[in-house]
Structure formats: structure tokens, C-alpha cells
Symmetry: D2
Subunit: 397 residues, 4 copies
């Protein structure tokens, strides 16, 4: 459309003095869309980006779907074979948003091509795969991140800061949960139950990994595990009406011993009626306690022994949305809540910053080392469940 | 960067078969950024856009600030005089995100230029201004919307749907609040208190309008008002240390009588310690009750007499994030909470759809008529406070 | 039953070195039983009683009912005419637990007989009656208490203490509610709706008085009132199936101006679906806020500006059950919640102590003066509702 | 005091047509007082008692304390040796409220004397003791109850009723907690920490037993256990300033497998800062979930798949205080909350009724069989913790 007005001042790429960083995303599903949204927001969401993400290509096996996604999200183009994607020289960050069983091979290959790599959780399907992935990033020195996005929720960050300041005292215990209910109904068709259908995933790999990562972030490294991993609904009908056998676990319960002496329980469930996306944890220390619940993610419950009048001690419902709180500059205003999506946005921002400015991803972000450690704990739960006894993490690698 | 790979499929504007719609935004502050974010998300946030927003220009008096904003948000360019903006022929939607006292004149002018107009709340500074604005959009037939974004929160939409289905029965009463605490401390400098500094706004105009609009949406038109509007901290120091007189109200309380016989109270406060952005309301009807709280915006509290076992009746904490709920297709997954920002995004999506597909903005969205009716109620509160008696809305226009 | 064991040590009245105080109760209903329970618990509930309550007589018109009550609660005997009761010389405390319209005459007569008097709320049916009752206790100098038992909930006491210590700063605003739902259903028979059946009471007199008393205790004396008092269901069927006209108000909303400049709203409702016994209030001051809810009476929500780390400020959910909290010595152990009944027990303990040890009933307990002041506010709400304008309390007496 | 009034009708023991039942209580501490209060309330708390408790004697080693208690609570007299108490022929119910290590011997002896026996939890200090206690009541056929009072909370009863009606469907999982924080501070003197001081108790025996009993009541019999039992603060100073070694566990975590296939976790802690008396549990089934929290004991959180509109499904916060709810007739009015004490009162009422009217104590009340089963689970936790492996309950007896 033509238009002339002498007072109109056009801006263009030259005005953007900031460098670009090329992004390639594998996967056009939930996670692919989510990460793409994050990259798009980096230039404008409140603070200047470390670099302007250049969305080079999205990749997936369905051409119609990747094409649509490329158009909608503003990618330059698309591929249908990840081997092409990882060889694209315009791409500096390879972001693996594919299904769990596609994490291993493309990520290894991308790292060997020298791409910085992001891999959705769980890092892979096994300890062996995760160890190989860790080895290759250690060898190639590429920046690497396993997408444990819940580390980046402001309330979780605040919790870490309070603990760093020793306001909670010595940690005694941890209780963590990740509960969903998609599989609660035995007659829910297989295809509607994400952890049972198609891929080789399960509740522990799919969501349990998150609460294990948070246990490590909040309390410390896990030393040993007692656990039970169970499938209640061992068959389900698929959409065609055929009964299929389900091997994926549905309910996992474990007792963790941490290296620092603390103990804890974790539960990962896909069959907890009424719990939609209930990732929650509580930490009890000698001077205080902290409670978080993802279904109310803008708040942290804080009990501090030392910093309040004795007669008004109780769990404070802290709205983690104020100017003194983490990531406030990338949010809106006090009391103006953020959504679940922001955890991914803050995480991607962190990784882009780490790549562009050569900063470490850890300890704020999770690296492949973290992904590997989480994989060890998941395997220990499975093994404890099979053997009916305590499993030392150190016995697994 | 040059790169060739035969398997790379580029996508470009021709692939975007969707039409464009030109957007011009007045204001580079909080609201200007928020609306810009909304337009950017329309093409990709889950469903195809009715049209692809073409961000033509942002306008403001500070050239450095509008230029920076234009670059970061991807505007084609910028203006520093709104009179240029509204004459830009590429622009179809004029979005007024300026301060309250800049709503009137530019919006009138834009409507007269034939632009579809969005105006941030409150519609204007007075009944007279609002009436003129209403008259001009009625005359020019442009689509018009007053940005009462809280109508677009899924939990609020669900509440409206439940009431439409008569699940709440006859409405008896309403209690509404919009409480913030930015001015709680008498020694907080003037410049930190949004309602006291500079503009001619106040708590009632600034946030009270929202709860009045929701009262109208949820219960019905207001018939009369008893109210008190009060300033506790009548002077504050500015940053230079000079004491200034404050005329802006800080605390407003009113009793409303609705045309349908229901009665209610509303409170709008800028000095309620601990309440960061507490917009909350409760409706009581003969068959049920509903409660909403913006600080927990993904939930609606629902009490229904008829649809539950008698022994388990209680307020249900409904996670309004499931596939049967409003706007689920523009969100993520069950239990994956949205943030405050989404209310604006859904509202802008609604307006663009109304413009492109020539649909009515109301009743889902608020038009200038709604903005005018809210202005009447606000003025009635002020007048009741001055005269110590009940004020009939019909006496004001 | 005969039994001898040399090691058995009998205790008897001589061992009870404590004095007795004679109690006479008018009313065998809910309140009569509740108060009787309180007197019984005084000797043993954790601390020694100021005196041992001697339950002389209970009185009511139904002989079978008062007789049964006398037997079950251990009264020495009973009367069926209150004129006999108030003349019984063994009685020192006359406790009027009769219906609202029986408060006036027997209480006046008892005070003139020199009995110390307790009267359930509301003090009477009108300002005139309450003024006479106040005059007679002033003249006869008997101890007098109007049973506003919610003053004695530990969380309410804690609130008062925090305010006395000026931790909340200057009080800006108050919001109070007493919501029940017994009358929510228009087809609920008259006889099931306490405020509509038989007596001359109404929601304002029956429960509204409590929240007005708490407003006075927490904020200060009321100066003026804007209010609406409304009956939605103006007829109901009685058990015989006859339609009767209802004059009792069902929903009351008022804006209060306090003498100290604070403002507030109160609501008293019998038709708020889902609210079973929801007495709740919030106070906002320049340094903090307090929230209480009777349906969760063991907690007080406390927000303090000055006494917590800035980054963990939020409403603390204080379990008011610890050794530093009010009335702990008459309760059980930290976290071991008390029930609603305890508020009456603590109140009766307080009055017996005031009588026996000649201490003032006020300010902790409510006297007839408080009952009178509450009556003024209730009448002001009615008058404001009739006249559609602000009513100054000082204009009413 | 002499007094004559022809209208005074005296009532006396002959009027009490109800029989008496003789009560002997061992222990003058917290539990002794609590049970005494319960017996006193039986005649009048809303419904007629099955019998009028005749408080024969209280017994304890401190003569001054049992004498004071006898006077205050209206006991006929007292003993200082339990061997005298159990031989007193006037006593039909022997109620053992002594410390944990005094449960075994006196209870056995009382049962052999033919007394009906109540024993506070835990039933004893070991499986062997508990087995002997179970054997003796089976042999003597006396009524027996282990005081697991939380079974009698109305919300817990409602939960059982909902499950009996199969509204929750197949039970998948259970999570139970009993958390206190008395020992959170390592420098808290020994004497202030109930589980560490003097007696041979510990957190698992002292409070863990309650949550194990509830797990059995709500889910079913326990089959196997994986557990950790840990003492963090292994020494504490006593009041004299001497450091003492602490053997009592402070934190217990266990994974339970139930005979019906459900799995669960339980935690019993004395060091969870901010948790004052947090007994809480959640049950997830294929059709719904239930949540209870003792710090809010008048409510039950209920999620039912089948009995609510799909769009308003959520956990309902049910006020278990209405006329259709358990024990309403022994409480006050809808929304008028009961306190923790009432659970003991309802339990004692149940046992007196069982004795007087020869009804079974179980399944509503816990018998010594239940006490024994709970003891097995506690021992299994200890053994699993020692052996680092799963312990089958059946291997322990």
C-alpha cells in the first residue's frame, strides 16, 4: 500500500543494531510452538534481547504441518528431514522439541555439527543415551540445555534465593509431586492418554523428570532411591476399538535420600483425578519452609522463623510479581500474573544470552549434565521398583 | 547469510494467503506495549488470525521512545504527532493506548477519519466527552471498542455462560472490588503513585471503571448509586521534595441498585495494603454463587445448588483451562495457566475479527456505549459522595 | 453402688474451695444450650474458674422442654415464668437467651432486681428499648454484657492486639460481611427460614449486628451511614401451605463513615448461596492489612509492611493456636483447632470473672452501651434505605 | 443457700431415668483432661446419652495433680496406683490416657478384670505387646477401642460414606501426612520436644500411627512397606544444660502397598517448620478424589467426575457442618464449625453406646485389632529403614 507523509519515520533492519542468532527447531507440536513463541518475544518483551532470533527453519516429517507452522511463526522456511536441519549453516541454536525418543540422535548430530543445543526433557530414553549426549557436548564444548523450564518460574527462583541466603536453615525434608489426571478413566481411549500412546514415554519420563530436577535444584544431588512404579490400567482401547497392552507406568512414588542428608518423597502420576497440572513441592528446613504449586504459579508460600513477629508467623502467600522479584523486568506490573508459558520464555532468553555472551548455562539453567543426573534417578526408581530394595545412584553409572 | 540446500523450502508472503489489517497505536507505555504484543501473537497463537496485523506505526511525543518501540515490536515506522497517525491511510484500526486525558480528542478524530477505534479505559474524563465519542462512532459506523479486557478472561466468560444457562437462578447481589496498594504509604512520593501523579486520573477512573463494567456485564445495567469517594493522603512530596496537593480519590465505595432489582457493593482502592492487583467479585443468586479473583485468574469458584450431590455441595475451585472452556484453543493445555496478558490478547483478537469479518463487537466486547454507561456510574458515585444521597443514573444524561 | 478400697480418696464439695455463683438462664433453644455448656466448662477447661457456676434454674414456657434441659445440663430446677426466675435470690447472673423480642422486658426487670445481666444480641428490637436497658444498668450498676461473642475469638483478639501495637498504621478502610443462605430458595418454607418466621427479627438484627459490633471494635465508632435494606422474597409458604407476607429484610448493604475518618462497607445477607456462616472482615491500614473469616476461625490473615523481608511480603496465614496467642490456656495445643462454641465459652468466662472479681466488662466484652450503639447503626441503615440519603448517627438519639 | 418459691420445680437424680456407667481414667495429662471433658458432655451435647457417665476415679502418680483433676472435673475420687483403679468395681470402662509406655500393662490387667477398655494410641510400644493386648480382649470379650479419634471427624466420616457409595471409583493412590514442627530447631531444649523427652516414644509412634490408621480406614489393609525413619538432631540439651542423646525418630517417610493394589506414601514429621498439626491426606480414584486437612477440619475437598457439570468440575470445598452430614446432631448449626476436641467426644460417645447397648465398636471405631495392625505397619517402616528393602507385613507376625 502506497502512502506518503513527510512526518512518517520508517525504521528498518539497519536500525536494529543488535546481532542475529539463527534458530532451527525440530518439532511442530506443542513444544515446537511454545519455543517458537518464546523466540519471537525476545526482542520486545520488556528488555533488549542479547540477539535478535532469526527463525531459520522448523523441521518435521509432515510437510503440510511444518509449512503451516513456518508461515504462522515467521520462519524463513522448513525442512522435513532433521539431517538437513542440523547441517544448515545459518543455524546456531538447534532446539529439539521432538518426541522423547527423537531426542537422542538428532541432538548428538547437531552438537557434532557445532550447533548449540537445547533438548526438551527428558534428555533421552535411557542412561546410556543421556551419557552419550553429555559426552558429546563436553567434547564439542557447545552450549547445551535440557529444558527444565520450571527452574525459571519467578517463584522457584525466589525460593532458590531465599535458600541461598540461608533463611530456611538446614534442609530436613522435601515433598514433590507432579500429578495429572489424563489417564484416570480406565475407558479413556489410548490415543487420548499422552503417556500411553505411541511413543515410548511414560509418566515418569514425561513429567516425573521435572519434579526430580526441582528436587536436585532445591535440595541437592540424590544419593539413593526407594521406589515403586506402577501401571494400573494395563490395557486400553485405541480409536479403532482394539485393545492394546500398556507398558507405560502411570503412578510413581519414591523416597529419595540426598547427599546432604535430607530425605524426601516424590510422586509422578497420570491418574490423580482432579489434578490437571499439579506440580507442587514443599521444603522443610530448621528455620523455615517453602511451598509451591504450579496451578497457582504466581505465588510462593513462605514460612520464616526468624524474620517475622512471633505472633503472626504463618505461611505467607507471596505474590512473586513485584519489582524486587526475579524476571519482573520481563513481566508487566505488580500483581499482574504471568502464565505457564513465561517459564519457557525466560528459559530461552537465558540460553540465547548464554550463547551470545558466552556465559554458563548452569546453575540457573539445566545442562545435559542435569538431564543425565535426572535420568539416573528415574532409572533408580524403576530398578528399586523391580528389585524391592534401595538403589544407590552411584551403582548405575 | 547465504546458504543453499536443495531440501530447504522457503516460505514467504505469498504463502500467507491471509489479508492484512493496518494497525496504528497511540502510546508507547505499558498499554501500548501490551497491545502491540497482542497484535504480534494473532497470527500464530493457536488459531489462524482473521487477518495478519500490519503494524504500521506507533505514535508518541518522545521520538527516542517511539523509535525504540517501533524497532523492537516490528512497526514499519512511527509518528510523534497523533494527527499524522490518524491520517495514515494504511491504518484501519486506531488503537488509543495514551493516558486517560488523551483518549477523547484523538479517538474522535480517528473515528471521523473512518478508522475503527479501540480506546483504553476509561473511555474519557467525563460524561460529556464520552457522549461525544459515542455519538461520533454511531454516526461514522466505525467498529469501536472500549478496552475492558477483563471481560475476556476465560473464567469471566465461563461465569457469563453459566448465568446464561440460568444455573445461578435469580441474581440477588453482587460484590465487586478492585484493590491495589501503590498509595498505601503516606510518604510514598507522588511520582510513584500512578493515580496521583501528573495525569488527571484517579483510582475510580483508573481501575474502578473495570469493576463497574464487570458489574454491568455480570448483573445488568445500573439504576442508582449511593457512594463515597475519598482522598486520605491529600498531599505528597514529589521527587524534588516539594509537597503537592492531591485531588485524586484513593478509596471509593458504592452501593449499586441494578435495573433488574439486584443490589451490590463495589470498592475501588489504591491504598489497600497487601492487595497488589485484587480485582475480585462475587455474585449470589437463588440457585448458586460465583466468585472470581484476578490474582488467581485461572480459576472460578462455583457453587451450584442443582447440579451436585447435596452432601458434597461447596464452592468448586474450577480450573478454567480445559478443552470445554472459553479460549482454550488460544491457550496451551489443561492446567497450564494463562497470565494476565492473555485477556488483552483475546480482546484484540476479538476486535480484529469483528472488523475483518464485520461482526458486532458487543456483547462480548465492550463498545463505546459501555464506556459511556460506565462513565455515568463513575460520575454518579462522585455526585452521591458530594450530595450525601442516592443518585439516579437517569438523572445524569 | 457400694465399694470400699482404702486407697480410694474421695473428693467433695469441701475440696472445692472456690466460691459459687448462681446462674439463671432464660431460653431453652440454641443459645440457652450453648450458654449452659459454657458455664459447665468453666471449672475445668484448663484454668481454675473465678467461681464455680451453680446452675440454679432454666426458664421457658414449655415445661417439658425446660424440664428436660434442666435434667440434661444439671440445673437444680426450672421455671416456666421469667418473673419467677428473676426473683430467685440464689441467682446472681441472669442470662437472657430468649428470642429477640423477649430481650427487653425480662432483662430490665432482672437488672432492677440487682442481677448482673447478660443479653443475647441484638440488645433489643429498637433504639428506644436499648436506651431504656442501658439506662437501667447504668442506674443499678449491675454488670452487663451484650453477647457479641465474636469479640472473643482468638484471631479477633489477636487482630485487636496488633492494631493496639500500631502495626497496621492508620486505618483507611473496612469491609465486613455476615452472609448466610438459609433463605436463598424462594420456595423454602417460611418455617425453615429463621429470620422470616415468627419472631420480629430480620437478617440485620439477627446477624448484621455482629458485623457492626466488630466494625466498632476494630475500627471505631460509626459516624454516618448510607444503606440499603431489601427483601427479595416478599412472600413464602408456611408449613400449612398458606402464603404469608415477609417483612423481614434479607439483604443489607451499607457504607459506614467512622469518626476517625476511615470508611467501610458492611453486608448482612440471608440469601447468599453457598455461604453457610460467613462472617468475614478485612481492614486496610497504611502499614498493613488483616483478614478474618469465621468459616476458618482458627486463622488470621496478616499483612505487615514493616515486619517482614520485602521479597516475602504477603498475607500470612497465622494459626492462632499457639502459646503466645489469646486464650491458649483455655484451648488444647498448637494447631489443635477450636470450634465456634469456644467464642461463647470465653465470653462467659470473661463475664463471670468480671462479676466475681469486680472487673470491667468492657472493652474486651460488649456492654449494653455497645448493644445500644449497634442498635443506632442498624436503625440508621433502615432509615437511610427509606430516605435514600446519608443518615448521621447523632441524629437518632 | 435457702430459697423458696412455689413455682420452682426441682429436678434430681430420679428424673434422670437413664442408667449410669462407671468411668475410670488413668492419666491426668492432656489426654486425661480431654477424655474427661468428653464424658462430661455426653449427657447434654444435643442428644440423650446412652448412659450417664459416672466419673468414678482418675488415677496418676502425683497425688496433688490427680486430686486437683478429680475436683475440677467432678470425679468422685482418685487413686495413685493403677492397680487399685482397675479393681474398683464401680468402674465399667477403663480409659488408659497414660504415656505410651504405660499402655500395655494396665490395659491388660483391666481387661482381665472384665473392664471394657479404651487405650490411647499407639496401642503399645511393640508388636508383641499389642498382640498380647489383642489376645486378652479377644479372650475376655470386653469391648475395646484404640483411640484413633480422627476417624470421628465428620469430614473423615463423609469421605468414608462417599467411598462406600463408590463415588470415587477404584482407588489408585493415597498420600498421607502428619506434620508438626515442635523439634524443628536443633537448639530447642529436649524437654520442650514431646517426642524426644523422657518417654520411649517417637514421632512415628506418637503421630504417625494416626495417619497409618486413616490409610487403613480409607484405602484398606497394608501389604508391604518401603520406608525411611530418621533422626536429624541426634543430641539436644535438657533444661539442666546437659547434652543428651536422642534416639527418637523425627522424620518418617514410607511407600505403602495395599492389599487391594493401591499404593501410597505417608510422612510423619516432628520437624516440618510451619506445620503445627498438619494431618492431611489425599485419595485419588478413577472417578474422583478427596482431600482432608486437620488444620481446616470442618471442610472436605471433593472432586467427583460423575456428579457435576463438566465445565464446573473442580475440588469442592464442602463445609461438613450441615444437617445431612455426620454428627450434625451433636454439633450446632450449618457453618458453625466444630473444634479438634469434638473428634474425641464423638469417639467416646460411640464407645459408651457400644458398651451400653452391646454394639460392635468396629468398623467405625478402632479396636485393639486396628491398634495391632497399625503397630505392624510402624514396625515394618522401622525394619525397612534398617534393611533398605521392602518389608512384607505378613513377615512380621
Amino acid at each position: 500500500m502506497e502512502y506518503s507523509n513527510n512526518n512518517f519515520k520508517e525504521v528498518n533492519n539497519k536500525n536494529r543494531k543488535i546481532s542475529k542468532i539463527g534458530i532451527g527447531v525440530l518439532g511442530y507440536g506443542f513444544m515446537g510452538k511454545l519455543h517458537s513463541t518464546g523466540y519471537i518475544k525476545i526482542p520486545f518483551q520488556t528488555e533488549w534481547a542479547p540477539a535478535y532470533p532469526f527463525l531459520v527453519a522448523v523441521c518435521g516429517r509432515s510437510e503440510s504441518k511444518v509449512k503451516e507452522m513456518a508461515i504462522r511463526y515467521g520462519y524463513k522456511g522448513y525442512y522435513t528431514d532433521w539431517k538437513d536441519l542440523i547441517r544448515d549453516k545459518r543455524i546456531q541454536i538447534f532446539d529439539n522439541c521432538g518426541p522423547d525418543n527423537i531426542h537422542y540422535q538428532p541432538t548428538i548430530a547437531a552438537a557434532e555439527e557445532g550447533k548449540h543445543v537445547i533438548c526438551e526433557k527428558p534428555l533421552s530414553m535411557s542412561i546410556e543415551e543421556s551419557k552419550s549426549m553429555l559426552d558429546v557436548v563436553n567434547k564439542t564444548k557447545v552450549k547445551n540445555m535440557c529444558s527444565f523450564n520450571y527452574r525459571f518460574i519467578p517463584a522457584v527462583r525466589l525460593a532458590c534465593e531465599l535458600m541461598k541466603k540461608e533463611l530456611i536453615g538446614k534442609i530436613y525434608s522435601f515433598r514433590g509431586y507432579y500429578l495429572q489426571d489424563v489417564g484416570r478413566n480406565p475407558s479413556e481411549p489410548l490415543d487420548n492418554v499422552w503417556y500411553a500412546s505411541g511413543s515410548k514415554s511414560c509418566v515418569l519420563l514425561g513429567i516425573g523428570c521435572h519434579i526430580i530436577d526441582l528436587a536436585r535444584v532445591l535440595v541437592g544431588e540424590v544419593k539413593s532411591v526407594l521406589g515403586i512404579s506402577k501401571t494400573f490400567n494395563t490395557t486400553r482401547l485405541n480409536f479403532k476399538g482394539t485393545k492394546e497392552r500398556i507398558n507405560a507406568d502411570e503412578e510413581n512414588m519414591a523416597i529419595l535420600e540426598f547427599k546432604n542428608g535430607a530425605i524426601g518423597t516424590i510422586t509422578a502420576s497420570g491418574i490423580s483425578s482432579g489434578r490437571k497440572n499439579f506440580l507442587s513441592w514443599e521444603i522443610n528446613g530448621s528455620l523455615g519452609s517453602l511451598i509451591f504449586n504450579l496451578e497457582d504459579l504466581n505465588h510462593l508460600q513462605v514460612y520464616l522463623e526468624k524474620r517475622s513477629l512471633k505472633e503472626v508467623r504463618g505461611f505467607s502467600n507471596v505474590s512473586v510479581t513485584e519489582s524486587i522479584h526475579p524476571y519482573f523486568k520481563m513481566a508487566w506490573a505488580p500483581g499482574h500474573s504471568i502464565g505457564w508459558e513465561s517459564s519457557h520464555f525466560y528459559q530461552l532468553f537465558h540460553f540465547v544470552d548464554a550463547v551470545v555472551n558466552n556465559k554458563p548455562v548452569e546453575p540457573l539453567g539445566a545442562t545435559f549434565y542435569d538431564g543425565f543426573r535426572v535420568q539416573l534417578v528415574m532409572e533408580a526408581i524403576k530398578e528399586s521398583s523391580r528389585k524391592d530394595k534401595k538403589v544407590e545412584i552411584s551403582s548405575l553409572y
